[in-house]
């Protein structure tokens, strides 16, 4: 029996295996979405589960990588990873809606103040056959809207005051119908989970990277005792850093792949609910023409909104990282109905 090379440690072997395992949920997540609304619901639930699995594996990989950089850190890193891996999906499932509403500075809409809004949402909920979602308002002149909630029973729709001022009733109804379909399809479950889980990964990688720089600098100073072991060590360190940089990017790309197609689907189903595609189409035209960015939105919540709230300029890179299909494309699809 040949002995394994010195640099193959159990820790590194486990990391390799985990990286391989990462591909299972990744494939589920990247599988193309169906165009059938009824299949879409079970797809979203499956993808949400895959996202949680992806998150858990990624957390453990990060923890083991930490051990590579700072030997002995396992004693703290592993229990921490277990806590994160358990709490992440749980908090994501039960509290993402509250976290997102808080992040967006949304307040509950009162019936007296927004009678038309409330009545329209109630009507659309009847048309969609789901419980009436709760209504929230964001004080901001940029017109936009999003939906969240883990299932239709916990659905929430938030609209900005700018949307209420700049759009007419038919257009508002179109926007609400779009959000209603997100809730009915369970798009909101996947989208909201992504906000929390991707956020945690990004935070952790950020924190790890900062630690890496510190330890690597310290080690370089401590001794230049070269040799093969030292070289392998350096390679692993570089890989760990690359992984820490890549993790949030992978997570980000994932979220985009997941969210772009469903905008088109929600448009189509929203139009089916109101039986008036032109309402949503002209709403999108107005939203597209408005160039004011939404203050309370950021990279982690951008994919939830009906149109990209960050108002980035179009370009190759932005196209690749865009959370939304081009609005012109969506309008054309609606006008053709």
């Amino acid at each position: 029996m040949t002995t394994l090379p010195e640099w193959v440690t159990p820790n590194r072997a486990i990391i390799a295996i985990l990286v391989l395992f990462l591909f299972v949920p990744l494939l589920v997540l990247l599988a193309p979405a169906t165009t059938n609304i009824y299949e879409q619901m079970s797809w979203n639930r499956r993808k949400s589960f895959a996202l949680c699995a992806f998150f858990v594996i990624l957390i453990f990989i990060l923890a083991l990588l930490f051990e590579e950089v700072a030997p002995g850190a396992r004693i703290i890193a592993l229990p921490l990873a277990i806590i994160f891996a358990t709490l992440g999906p749980l908090v994501g499932y039960y509290n993402s809606d509250k976290i997102i509403l808080k992040m967006s500075a949304a307040r509950p809409a009162t019936r007296e103040e927004h009678l038309f809004l409330q009545n329209t949402v109630e009507g659309l909920a009847i048309a969609a056959g789901i419980p009436t979602p709760k209504l929230y308002v964001i004080e901001d002149t940029a017109p936009n809207a999003f939906a969240t909630g883990r299932n239709p029973e916990h659905g929430v729709i938030a609209v900005t005051t700018g949307l209420l001022q700049k759009l007419n009733r038919r257009e508002i109804e179109g926007v609400l119908a779009h959000e209603m379909s997100h809730i009915k399809n369970y798009d909101t479950l996947l989208g909201s989970l992504a906000v929390v889980l991707v956020g945690v990964v990004a935070l952790l990688s950020d924190w790890m990277l900062r630690n890496f720089w510190r330890t690597s600098r310290g080690r370089r100073r401590a001794g230049r005792s070269g040799g093969r072991g030292g070289q392998a060590q350096a390679i692993v360190l570089v890989l760990a850093i690359i992984m820490a940089i890549l993790a949030p990017i992978i997570a980000q790309l994932l979220r985009l792949a997941v969210s772009r197609r469903r905008e088109l689907l929600a448009d189509a189903h929203g139009a089916f609910l109101t039986r008036y595609p032109d309402g949503l189409a002209s709403a999108l035209e107005k939203l597209d023409a408005d160039t004011e960015p939404l203050e309370v939105a950021n990279k982690s919540t951008a994919h939830l909104y009906i149109v990209n709230p960050l108002r980035e300029h179009a370009g190759l890179l932005n196209n690749l990282f865009s959370t939304h299909p081009s609005t012109r494309e969506r309008i054309a699809a609606l006008r053709a109905m």
Partner: protein, 183 residues
């Protein structure tokens, strides 16, 4: 040989059970959707006396209009068949239109908070009635398609699943009215 026959039989029975349950689910959904329409219609009936009272406070002399609305409401509530109710509903919608047209000539009434709220609620309720009917029709269509499709049609025939009627939607004028122009 006997084993294969048994398996085929079990699959066959299982299929019948599943198809039967699916039909039952859809039929109950239709019933529920119908009840939804009634809930919204009742809400509309409940709003009308309030509205009439509010308008009366400002436009005492329009007795004729009030009577028409009240009468149409009573007829709609008392309607025995779906067809009668549909007719009475149309009459009521017409009467309410006259009421709102009358209200136009009373600026003080138009500015009244209570009146504005009732008008909004009524419009909202009418929207909900339309959506409830649409939901009902969607469900009826799903049910009817399944009922007529082969081979579910055999099971539907065996257990006497009758076809359900769609609700004839008289297209509300507002559906066509608003057309935003862009140049």
């Amino acid at each position: 040989m006997g084993m294969i026959a048994l398996i085929i039989f079990v699959v066959f029975v299982l299929y019948i059970v599943l198809a039967y349950n699916r039909l039952i689910t859809l039929r109950n959904r239709i019933k529920n959707a119908w009840a939804q329409i009634d809930v919204q219609l009742k809400r509309r009936y409940d709003l009308i006396p309030n509205l009439v009272e509010t308008v009366k406070g400002y436009a005492k002399h329009e007795r004729e209009v009030f009577e028409k609305v009240t009468e149409a409401r009573a007829r709609a509530i008392g309607a025995a068949s779906v067809k009668d109710q549909g007719q009475a509903e149309n009459q009521l919608t017409g009467a309410l239109k006259t009421l709102f047209a009358v209200a136009e000539s009373y600026p003080e009434l138009k500015a009244n908070q209570n009146f504005m709220m009732l008008q909004e609620e009524l419009a909202g309720t009418e929207g909900k009635i339309a959506y409830a009917r649409q939901f009902y029709n969607d469900n009826v269509m799903q049910y009817n398609i399944l009922r007529e499709k082969f081979p579910t049609n055999i099971i539907a025939g065996m257990f006497n699943f009758v076809p359900q009627d769609m609700f004839e939607i008289t297209v509300p004028a507002e559906r066509e009215a608003v057309k935003v122009k862009f140049d």
